[in-house]
Structures are given as structure tokens and as C-alpha cells.
């Protein structure tokens, strides 16, 4: 759920107006329904979709079993946060829920067909000039582009793998903005976030990167003044000024397209056409340089709105890079065997394992205290390692319950804790407040923000991890104080 929750977090931060516009597109509604809602919520929506009247709260409560209360609360919270369900305040009648009208009509349209929104992509003319691309070619392209990005990141951790792929400066900048890498003296250094990114499944990686892309398009466009000239001039991500709603709709639409089919770019908006270039760099779409009028979604795009479970259940559709069928066997004696020939997977493994022999299709090594602690020093957590091993476990390993040998799992954690006797938190110490009141309120504010690490009420000082908002808060207090 980590991946859909990333998207969910992003969406929940959006204002209500954004939702209204988002829900006008059937593919978006379909994707939201499929990816972001708990199972129970889907059932509630379907029950309400063709209901002529609002669903009485009382009826809803009787419909869902009493013991499923936690699931119900979860479902209702998500539905309300995404502005899908609203409580109808009708004083004479009992409380009732109503589906968002835009959402309902788009979903009905998606299920029943009809409309003329061209929302599921306009396929290109059959007899358009230029050669056709096969699915294999597209897979190859997607893999090459995506692995280049991963290589770049791994390469920044391990020198020997560096500079194998060439990624565009825009992508590089994006990685930097997402704090996956830090540029230090012209050399990219991978961060903790970067490791988290690397150890995710492919689908989650794509979404994580896309969300950084979305977030930055927004923040950057609000900083820079809007000028069309720059937008056309350069495709650097830094200068993107695009509407996040259109971008999101486009991404969701890509998720509903057919692999191996080329689509016409004419129906795209300017923003979406512009996005094509960047998505082309990521390997999510293929925009042939010799035929600018059409584009192919790759497997990375068409699986955007499918969940990880579907990738597992359908081995044909999973990318053979670092997702799909697992290949790692971990024994109780800490030995690790991996059936792979992918340099990328070997590189990732080398981050936390001591590899000692390499055969054409097999790498073997050992998890040692040294190798784990080396990884921990770099900022990889034990849980990340364990999670990676578990998600990439060989089918034979999956037969075990639990999947990984518990002794090894415990040992990895213990090795991490060993280095964690002292935890360093960079941050700011605030002290010497004017009065107790100011101290108390500021500390409370910091706690609400979630940045408070430690406080001492007697000495009137506290410690926070971030200070930007506190500074604003204190400044505001200062300006308000004289007035009072």
C-alpha cells in the first residue's frame, strides 16, 4: 500500500476545487476508484452509484457489520477526504450520504460508455507515416530509460556503476529536487530517500518520481512568473509551469491506455503535450522522434493504475527488471543467493550484502555485520533491507511462513540497533523565551506541527527538527504583540 498511499497523500493535500476538475475525467475516476480506495469503500460506491436517493446514514450503518467498524471508519474517512462522499444536511430528513455528482457521472460514463470526451485516448491513424513499434521494442525502451535512472542513483552510491546510462539534465534535476540525490562538488550522492526509492517496487518507484514531478511543477510555477516563452524554450523541469490537474488527468489516462497501440497527440492539451517529453525521458511513454504526432504508452504507463498484486499474479505483464518474480534466496546461515544477471539488481544487493561469487545467472554472497552496518551508515534502514528481501524473495522462499528466516531478520535489526545507541537529530534549540506563555504556546505549536523532538518545561527550552514555520510563527507573534 506504500505506493498508493503516496498518491493518496498527494491527492489529499489538494484543495476541493482540484477534485471537482479531476473528477470530470472518467479515467481519473476509474484510477482513483481502483488504486486509492479501501475495498469496502469500493463496495459502498458501487451500491450508491445507481441509487436515485441519497444513502441514509442509518441504512449504511446497518448494511455494514458492526464488527467491521474499523474498516468502515477507514473507508468513510478516505471517501470524505477525497471529496467523493458528502453528508447531505437536510434538516427534516435523517442524515444521508451523497456521491459527488461529478464523480458519479464520470464513473457511470466509464462503466456504461458513451460521451465524447476522448478521455481514453485517440488511437493514431493506421496509415500514419513512420514505422510501428512492437511491444517488445517498447518494453526495451522503458527498461532502458528507467534503469538508466536507477543506475544513475546506484552509481552515485557505488562508483564502479556510475555513468552507464545517460539521463537528461531534467531528470537529474528532478531527482535532486525529490531529495533522492544531493549534488556535492559536482558528484551526485544518494540520500536516505534515494535508498528508500531504490528498494521500492518498480510501480511504486514510478509513482514516487511522478509525484515529485507533480509537486515541483506546482511549486516551481508558483515561484516563477508565468511566461509562455520559457515553457516553450526549454524542457528543463525547473521551468515547467503546468496545471497539476491536467497533469494528473493525463497520468491517469495513460494508465488506461492499451500497450502496443499508438495514440494521437492532437487531443492532448498543451501541458500534456509538454509532459510527453519528460515522460519520454523517464521511459513512461515513447514519443518517436520521427513521428511527433503520436506516442506509445509503455508498460510503465499502462500499469500505473494497476496494483502491485496484479503484477505479481500476472508474470507476463511485469517488467523483468527488478520487479516481478522474486529471485532472492536467503538461508538461515545468512547466505544469500540471487538468480539474476541484472547488473542493477546486483548493484542494489551489493549495497547491503557481501557478494563473493558471480555466475552467469546467479550471484551468491553473505549478509555480514559489516555489510549491514555499512548500509546502515549510508542511511538504509534494517526495515528497508528486510522489506526488499521479502518483496524479492524467490517463489520457493514464499512457501515458508514467515518468508524470511526469523533469525536473520532479527540479526539484521540487532546489527542496526547496535549502531543506534545514540541517535543524532539535526535541528534547532529554542530557549530564552520572553515569558512562560510564549514558551508554552510556541512549544505547543511545534508539537502540533510534528517537529518537536524534546522539551524541558522547567528550563523553558525545546528542540525542533525544522524551524522555518516556527520562525514565521514567532515573527507573526512579534508583530501582533505590540498591537495587543
Amino acid at each position: 500500500m506504500s505506493l498508493s498511499s503516496a498518491v493518496l497523500d498527494y491527492l489529499q493535500a489538494q484543495p476541493g476545487v482540484t477534485f471537482k476538475r479531476l473528477y470530470l475525467q472518467p479515467p481519473t475516476v476509474l484510477a482513483v476508484l481502483r488504486r486509492m480506495l479501501p475495498h469496502l469503500a469500493k463496495n459502498i460506491i458501487m451500491a450508491m452509484l445507481f441509487m436515485p436517493e441519497p444513502f441514509l446514514e442509518e441504512d449504511l450503518l446497518t448494511w455494514i457489520r458492526a464488527e467491521a467498524r474499523p474498516q468502515r471508519d477507514e473507508a468513510m474517512t478516505v471517501l470524505e477526504q477525497l471529496h467523493i462522499l458528502t453528508l447531505v444536511p437536510e434538516p427534516p430528513t435523517p442524515r444521508a450520504y451523497r456521491l459527488n455528482t461529478a464523480f458519479a457521472s464520470s464513473l457511470r460514463q466509464a462503466l456504461m460508455g458513451g460521451g465524447s470526451t476522448n478521455s481514453f485516448g485517440v488511437p493514431a491513424d493506421k496509415d500514419a507515416p513512420g514505422p510501428k513499434r512492437t511491444v517488445e521494442e517498447l518494453d526495451k525502451w522503458a527498461r532502458k530509460q528507467w534503469e538508466a535512472i536507477l543506475y544513475y542513483m546506484v552509481g552515485s552510491a557505488e562508483r564502479e556503476y556510475s555513468r552507464e546510462g545517460n539521463i537528461s539534465s531534467g531528470t537529474r534535476k528532478l531527482l535532486e529536487m525529490g531529495e533522492f540525490i544531493i549534488m556535492r562538488g559536482g558528484r551526485a550522492d544518494i540520500t536516505k530517500g534515494g535508498f528508500t526509492f531504490l528498494l521500492q517496487e518498480a510501480n511504486a518507484q514510478v509513482w514516487t518520481l511522478l509525484i515529485v514531478y507533480l509537486e515541483n511543477s506546482e511549486s516551481v510555477s508558483s515561484i516563477h512568473t508565468k511566461s509562455k516563452v520559457i515553457e516553450n524554450q526549454s524542457k528543463d523541469i525547473e521551468q515547467l509551469q503546468m496545471d497539476p490537474v491536467e497533469m494528473l488527468s493525463f497520468l491517469f489516462m495513460l494508465g488506461s491506455l492499451e500497450l502496443g497501440q499508438d495514440y494521437n497527440t492532437e487531443s492532448l492539451t498543451k501541458t500534456q503535450f509538454h509532459m510527453l517529453e519528460d515522460l519520454h525521458d523517464f521511459g513512461i511513454v515513447y514519443h518517436p522522434p520521427d513521428a511527433r504526432g503520436r506516442f506509445y504508452p509503455t508498460r510503465l504507463a499502462t500499469t500505473l493504475t494497476s496494483s502491485d498484486a496484479s503484477l505479481l499474479s500476472n508474470p507476463n505483464s511485469s517488467l523483468s527488471m527488478n520487479s516481478g518474480k522474486g529471485s532472492i534466496i536467503l538461508e538461515t546461515n545468512h547466505r544469500i543467493y540471487t538468480y539474476t544477471s541484472s547488473p542493477l539488481q546486483i548493484a542494489v544487493l551489493a549495497l547491503f550484502a557481501n557478494l563473493n561469487s558471480c555466475y552467469p545467472n546467479l550471484v551468491s554472497g553473505k549478509l555480514t555485520k559489516k555489510s549491514i552496518q555499512r548500509a546502515v551508515e549510508k542511511g538504509i534502514t534494517a526495515d528497508q533491507i528486510i522489506d526488499y528481501l521479502r518483496t524479492h524473495a524467490h517463489p520457493q522462499m514464499l512457501k515458508n511462513q514467515p518468508v524470511l528466516p526469523p533469525t536473520v531478520v532479527d540479526q539484521i535489526r540487532l546489527w542496526q540497533i547496535e549502531g543506534d545507541r545514540m541517535e543524532a537529530t539535526p535541528g534547532f534549540l529554542l530557549k530564552q523565551f520572553v515569558n512562560a506563555n510564549e514558551y508554552r504556546e510556541t512549544a505547543q505549536y511545534a508539537e502540533n506541527l510534528g517537529v518537536l523532538v524534546w522539551r524541558n518545561d522547567r528550563e523553558h527550552m525545546f528542540f525542533v527538527t525544522r524551524i522555518e514555520q516556527l520562525q514565521q510563527y514567532l515573527a507573526k507573534r512579534k508583530t501582533q504583540a505590540p498591537r495587543r
Binding site: P27, R34, H39, M46, I64, L111, M112, S310, S313, P395
Partner: protein, 392 residues
């Protein structure tokens, strides 16, 4: 250091993602029964509704699958997946649809591709089925081949289950290597204990309209029901028209949903306009019934209160006359049910000879019971086997 505890194994990955689910629909396509309904609820309208239902099922999860079977007059036909590419991989069926659909840009750009493929396949196959062979009048009155359709649906569901979970299929293949009843048990228990993360759930929806009574297929039907019970597949029944006891029992045994849907009768309203109005309301009602009553899969049913009538008619039909009996005789070999008093000396279903004591065939029921009680008190039920037939 005592406080250090790294043994949080966290092996229970809270997979709140629902398991992929297979929905198999068995549609009764007896032309005679549908022609009775044509004024209130024509087949085309039901098909449209079912397609929306199917789309909704596919929409909620990318890995959800669908299969549609027609239980026709004298055969059972696949509507989806189309038999030719039913066995082939998904890819081939998709490329199939792809070349076919590429000509119709306008439609494609407004409809999600998988929905379109299914819709085309189903309507094409159904048209072929209905136009290809015209059954005889005699055949039309016979009951639909429901038992056969159920067996096919169960076999398909089992196949998909094995495909979906390589773990259980591994153990299953080793299991079927050595034939035996014990292996069958091992297989089913493997299916049941399949790890919750990857579990694949399926359910079967029977849309039944035929008036004809199913007692001729009673044995096949019940065998399928027990197989479904074992595989944890609920049999949902949507009955259009009057109740049928057997289908209700089937859904009750497998904890499925049984509802009867009575389309608002439009024939009473003479005018054409009224007829079309009630036609749409009948469809809308059917759609809402499907969406609320039948939409949830096994995972969601744990959370929801499912509709259903409190009382289930558990009475069986006797095999000799087809009437529903309160108290009957049961053949000890094939479990066929007969009404009392018995009229024959060998079981008409399995031909095994029945030697029934006179007391069962002739004496009234109340008297026999009283006799039994007396004996129990007397000496530990010496003649307790009196009721069961003894092979000659």
C-alpha cells in the same frame, strides 16, 4: 540493554489490498423463458445491465477477472472468454481485440479498452448462440443445463485459482501426480490455507429465469454445490420469476446470496409509452439489485450484511413425482429422495435394489415415530436399522 528488542518480525504484512477476484456469471438463455419476459424485462436489457455490472467488477481491481457462461437449451456455451482464445494467454486476446477495434476510433476513445473487448465478445458470442441453432419445441420446455454449466464454471474457477497462485499450484501439481482421495484433500486444504496475501477469491452468479423444474439434474446440481462449498466459492442466485427451492438451497449451502427479482409488470398498462417507461424502471431496479446485493466478493462479504431471506426451504423434491416432500425416503446408495409410501423395489435413479420394511411403506409416519421412542427406552435401539433399506 534489556530494553533492546529487535524481534518484531512484522511478518504479517497488512495487505489491506483486496485479493483479485473472479466473477463467473451463468446466464440462463432459454429463449422460451425470455420470450415470456420480453414485455417487462427483455434479454437485451438484462444483458446491458449485466455488462455494467461486469464492468464495475473489473473497474474496482485491475486483477479482477470475469467469465460468462450461457446455459442454453441443449448445450452450455462460453460467452466470455471466447473459447478460441480462452486457453491462450491474455496477450493474444488483447491483440485480437486490438486489430478489430482499431477501425472504430470514436468508440475506443470514449470507452475503457478492456470493457469494450468484453462487451464485443459477449454480444458476438451470444448472437452466434441464439441464431445458430434453433432448438425444437420439446427441447425448449426442458430445464436449462444448469448442472453442466456449474461444473464448467467451477472447473474454470479452479483453473484460475491455480494459475493465480503458483504456490498452491506447485503443491497441487505434486498432489495430482499421485492419484488418490488423500491428495484431493491435500489439494483443497492447500487451497484453503493459501497465504492470505495472494489469495484469489471467486464467486459464481447464476441468473435463472426458466420455469422448468430442475429435479432431473438434482444430483449433478448438488454435487456441484458441494464442490463449490469445498472451494469456498459462493453461488449467488438471481432468480427472475418465482422461487426455486434447489437454487435457494445451493446458495444457502455455499453462503451465497439468493434474491428473487420481480420485474414490474408492464403488460397491464396497455399503452406503448407506459411499457417503455416501466421497461427502464425494471432495468434500473435490476441494476441496483445487482450493484448492492451481488457486488461484494468474498473479502467484502465479511464486512457487509448480505441480503437474503431468513427462511430457506430445505425440503427436497422427490425424484419419483417431482413434488416437494416434508418427509421422504432416501436411497442409501445415491441419496435420491422419494416420497412415501414407496412404490418401487429398486431405486429408479441408481437401480440399486431397495428392500424396505413394510413399516415404512405402509404405516403412517406418526405411528412409526412413536414406536421408535418406545424401543429406545426399552433396550438401546436394537432395531435401529429398521428404516434403512437392506440390499437383497
Amino acid at each position: 540493554m534489556d530494553g533492546v528488542d529487535a524481534t518484531v518480525r512484522g511478518s504479517v504484512r497488512t495487505s489491506s489490498a483486496a485479493p483479485p477476484s473472479l466473477l463467473t456469471i451463468i446466464l440462463d438463455t432459454n429463449p422460451l423463458s425470455w420470450s415470456h419476459l420480453s414485455s417487462s424485462l427483455p434479454l437485451s436489457a438484462v444483458l446491458k445491465t449485466l455488462l455494467i455490472f461486469v464492468n464495475a467488477h473489473l473497474a474496482i481491481n485491475h486483477a479482477n477477472q470475469v467469465a460468462v457462461l450461457a446455459s442454453h437449451v441443449d448445450n452450455v456455451a462460453w460467452l466470455y472468454p471466447t473459447p478460441d482464445d480462452g486457453d491462450a494467454s491474455k496477450q493474444s486476446s488483447q491483440t485480437n481485440g486490438h486489430t478489430e477495434v482499431a477501425d472504430e476510433h470514436r468508440v475506443v476513445s470514449n470507452k475503457y479498452r478492456p470493457f469494450l473487448t468484453i462487451e464485443k465478445n459477449i454480444s458476438k458470442n451470444l448472437r452466434n448462440l441464439l441464431t445458430s441453432d434453433i432448438p425444437s419445441a420439446e427441447a425448449l420446455k426442458s430445464p436449462p443445463l444448469l448442472a453442466g454449466a456449474l461444473s464448467i464454471a467451477l472447473a474454470y474457477a479452479n483453473l484460475q485459482l491455480l494459475k493465480a497462485d503458483p504456490m498452491t499450484s506447485d503443491s497441487a501439481s505434486t498432489g495430482t501426480g499421485a492419484v488418490g482421495a488423500a491428495d484431493l484433500d491435500a489439494h483443497t486444504s492447500a487451497l484453503r490455507t493459501a497465504r492470505s496475501g495472494h489469495q484469489f477469491v471467486s464467486r459464481i452468479l447464476i441468473v435463472s429465469v426458466s420455469q422448468a423444474d430442475l429435479s432431473s439434474q438434482y444430483i449433478g446440481l448438488m454435487n456441484s454445490v458441494f464442490a463449490a462449498q469445498r472451494l469456498n466459492i459462493p453461488l449467488d442466485v438471481l432468480r427472475i420469476g418465482e422461487r426455486t427451492a434447489f437454487l435457494q438451497q445451493a446458495s444457502d449451502a455455499t453462503s451465497g446470496v439468493y434474491l428473487t427479482y420481480d420485474p414490474p409488470n408492464s403488460t397491464a398498462n396497455g399503452t406503448n409509452g407506459a411499457a417503455t417507461a416501466s421497461f427502464s424502471s425494471a432495468t434500473a431496479g435490476l441494476l441496483q439489485t445487482l450493484m448492492q446485493g451481488y457486488f461484494s466478493d468474498v473479502a467484502a462479504r465479511k464486512l457487509l450484511v448480505m441480503p437474503g431471506s431468513a427462511e430457506v426451504d430445505f425440503r427436497a423434491a422427490c425424484f419419483c413425482h417431482g413434488k416437494i416432500v416434508d418427509l421422504g425416503g432416501v436411497c442409501s446408495v445415491c441419496l435420491s429422495i422419494f416420497c412415501l409410501p414407496l412404490e418401487f423395489t429398486s431405486c429408479p435413479t441408481c437401480q440399486s435394489p431397495l428392500r424396505v420394511p413394510k413399516s415404512v411403506t405402509t404405516k403412517p409416519v406418526a405411528f412409526a415415530r412413536r414406536k421408535k421412542k418406545k424401543r429406545k427406552i426399552g433396550d438401546g435401539g436394537r432395531d435401529s436399522a429398521a428404516g434403512t433399506p437392506v440390499p437383497n
